[in-house]
């Protein structure tokens, strides 16, 4: 039986592990939401690694169509080939290319499929995938062949809540909202990223980080990934840990917006 627990590089809260295991057991897609930088995308990688399965990533962009995940029919290539009378032109199957979802279905072994940032796509996008995710099969009209999953892939979907997802789609998912990690959990997460981090540096950096997150005027609060980058920068730069609170070295790594930098500087001085 598949069972997911935290890995060396990825520290998951108990509830998150629970949700992952429920989604695997019920064979339903797991929908992950949360503040940017809380490790939504990392989760799929960790799950794949923990279960020893191959990871397929389908990155969604604003122009992505559901069809691209299933298969594309390369008509242009066929047109070119037909001009020169190449071999195999008469067989449409040669010009059908499976998308990430198709690849996941055709795979001999069970894979982990990450559908990253599903909310980037058009509003109708999730609805177009309902049947395929439910039944784990689709039909290629051009060749009259249906592609059915050999082993139901573990599907993980991330969303930044830029668009609301349709109800019909949500009903089929297991949902988990990644809370912003508590200080204790954060300490563990940081340690998993660095082999040896100086105690004093870690403590001062975390204190400052959580202090900054309480400033309500900030437009974009710094998140885990920014903290990691910040610590990394300070360690490479050889910053004196005692100066972190007062001087905020490399604060640009933590805070990305001009207005926010202004706020932080004002509060610190």
């Amino acid at each position: 039986m598949n069972n997911f627990s935290s890995t060396d590089e990825y520290i998951a809260s108990e509830e998150l592990m629970g949700s992952v295991n429920i989604a695997i057991a019920l064979e339903k897609p797991l929908l992950i939401k949360g503040e940017p930088g809380t490790g939504k995308t990392m989760l799929a990688k960790a799950v794949a690694k923990a279960l020893g399965k191959k990871l397929l990533i389908w990155n969604i962009k604003s122009t992505t169509k559901a069809q691209e995940g299933l298969y594309t029919y390369d008509t242009i290539q066929r047109l070119y080939d037909s001009q020169f009378g190449n071999e195999g032109v008469d067989d449409i199957a040669n010009y059908i290319k499976l998308g990430k979802l198709g690849e996941a279905f055709e795979s001999e072994e069970q894979v982990v499929l990450l559908i990253d940032e599903i909310d980037k796509a058009d509003l109708e996008f999730p609805n177009d995938l309902l049947w395929e995710l439910d039944q784990m099969e689709f039909y290629i009209h051009e060749t009259k062949r249906s592609v059915k999953a050999n082993k139901r892939p573990i599907v993980i979907i991330t969303s930044n809540a830029e668009k609301e997802l349709p109800d019909a789609f949500l009903r089929r998912c297991i949902f988990h909202y990644i809370d912003f990690p508590s200080k204790e959990l954060m300490e563990e997460i940081v340690r998993s990223h660095f082999d040896n981090v100086e105690e004093n540096m870690l403590k001062n950096a975390l204190d400052t980080f959580y202090e900054i997150r309480t400033y309500s005027q900030l437009r974009k609060k710094p998140a885990t990934s920014e903290l990691i980058d910040w610590l990394n920068a300070m360690m490479i730069g050889g910053i004196d840990p005692n100066k972190i609170k007062a001087e905020l070295p490399f604060v640009g790594v933590l805070i990305k917006k001009d207005e926010d930098l202004e706020v932080v500087r004002r509060r610190v001085n």
């Binding site: 509830e15 629970g18 019920l26 008509t75 830029e162 997802l165 297991i174 949902f175 809370d179």
Partner: protein, 399 residues
């Protein structure tokens, strides 16, 4: 009992479908909750609730249904009330805390604390604060909220959580509720609703549809066959009229966010913004400072900004009745011979779609806010929350 839970969830406004409910039972049959109530809480939540804005509703329903269960961990409502004193936290200085810590129970192991907690939970029958045995606030035993003790169990309060009831007690997801005031990102999300692709409109096919052309050409044996399509562009034009200064000052940040969100959603065909003070009269200001002279004629706006612009008016509609009804009611600038109400009616006449967003709207018809009630009769008014904004945008898009 479970069916009750289903209906309680519905009663709390959670739209749980039958298929999700069956999935939950499926999960129960597979024993995925690890036979614990806490496990059940997280499992049920991940299956039944699909939006963090609904977590709070789920918490309330869960508490209502399961607080009666004879679980040793159960913390009743009243007990949480006793403990809900988190605003007193600030009174507790570092010194006092360290003093309290020295007094007793400093070294405790977890099991010991838990057993004692349960024992005392059984014994306790009244609210208790400040003592050193019972569960309550400000005390120095190992249990309860805000006690200075470092090693004890916390109930409610603002730190992390372990058990389901601790989470519910904290009502951690309260801030995510839909009816709360919203932030910029949520504004932006809402404004994405406001789009109308002109391909749905009745316009000529002027754009070359490359994909269809290629397909058609291929199907045509390689002989070119062109397919044309209607261009897909957002046809929505927006006119934003914002109340500025005076009673709106407390909402400056909120309005700023709204303004930013609209300008970041750069998918509109056009956005025009003007400002007013309290009510709309013969002049509209170009800047939020509302300085006399830096303005346009409201009639110029009627002439130059088409009636198919969708109008969003943002204001608290808090004004004296004469500011609305008198034709000399504008105490900051010219009235133009008409009362505020007449100007609003002209606006309503000219533009097909107008909504009013109010950051501090009173529910129903509030007799003590005469002007607001009168304006509600002219324009559909919505509270400036996620729900309110969504409703308003749906109203703007309706035909």
């Amino acid at each position: 009992m479970f069916t009750t839970f289903f209906y309680t969830l519905k009663a709390k406004g959670l739209d749980v479908s039958l298929s999700e409910w069956i999935t939950l039972h499926d999960a129960l049959n597979k024993g995925l909750n690890n036979s614990s109530l806490t496990g059940f809480y997280y499992m049920a939540r991940s299956i039944l609730v699909k939006n963090e804005t609904d977590f709070d509703k789920f918490d309330l329903a869960f508490e209502e249904c399961f607080k009666g269960i004879k679980s040793e961990n159960t913390i009743t409502d009243t007990m949480l009330e006793w403990l809900d004193k988190s605003d007193m936290m600030e009174l507790l200085h570092e010194e006092a805390r360290s003093f309290l810590n020295q007094s007793e129970d400093l070294q405790v192991d977890k099991e010991d604390v838990e057993t004692k907690f349960k024992d005392r939970l059984k014994d306790q029958d009244s609210e208790h604060n400040g003592g050193n045995y019972w569960i309550g606030t400000m005390g120095k035993t190992s249990f309860g909220n805000m006690g200075g003790n470092v090693g004890g169990i916390r109930v409610g309060g603002s730190t992390g959580y372990q058990s389901a009831f601790a989470v519910m007690g904290a009502r951690k997801y309260k801030d995510f509720r839909n009816d709360k005031m919203l932030d910029n990102r949520q504004f932006q999300m809402a404004f994405r609703k406001l789009r109308q692709f002109s391909s749905k409109l009745d316009i000529p096919k002027t754009e070359l549809d490359i994909n269809q052309t290629i397909d058609a050409t291929c199907n045509n044996g390689g002989y070119l066959k062109i397919v044309m399509d209607k261009p897909r562009k957002n046809a929505v034009k927006l006119l934003l009229l914002m109340d500025s200064g005076g009673t709106m000052i407390p909402f400056t940040k909120l309005l700023n966010e709204l303004f930013q969100a609209i300008h970041k959603s750069n998918h509109y065909k056009d956005v025009k913004t003007y400002y007013f003070h309290n009510c709309i009269y013969s002049k509209l200001y170009k800047t939020p400072e509302c300085e006399n002279g830096d303005w346009i004629d409201t009639e110029w706006m009627f002439r130059n900004i088409d009636s198919d612009y969708k109008v969003i008016i943002v204001g608290d509609a808090a004004m004296a009745p004469e500011e609305l009804y008198s034709d000399t009611g504008n105490y900051r600038g010219p009235n133009g011979g008409l009362s505020g109400e007449q100007w609003l009616l002209l606006l309503k006449q000219h533009y097909k779609k107008v909504v009013w967003l109010n950051p501090k709207m009173a529910p129903g018809n509030a007799p003590w806010r005469e002007a607001e009630t009168a304006i509600k009769n002219i324009f559909p008014m919505y509270k400036l929350t996620i729900d309110g904004l969504n409703e308003a945008l749906v109203k703007l898009m309706s035909r």
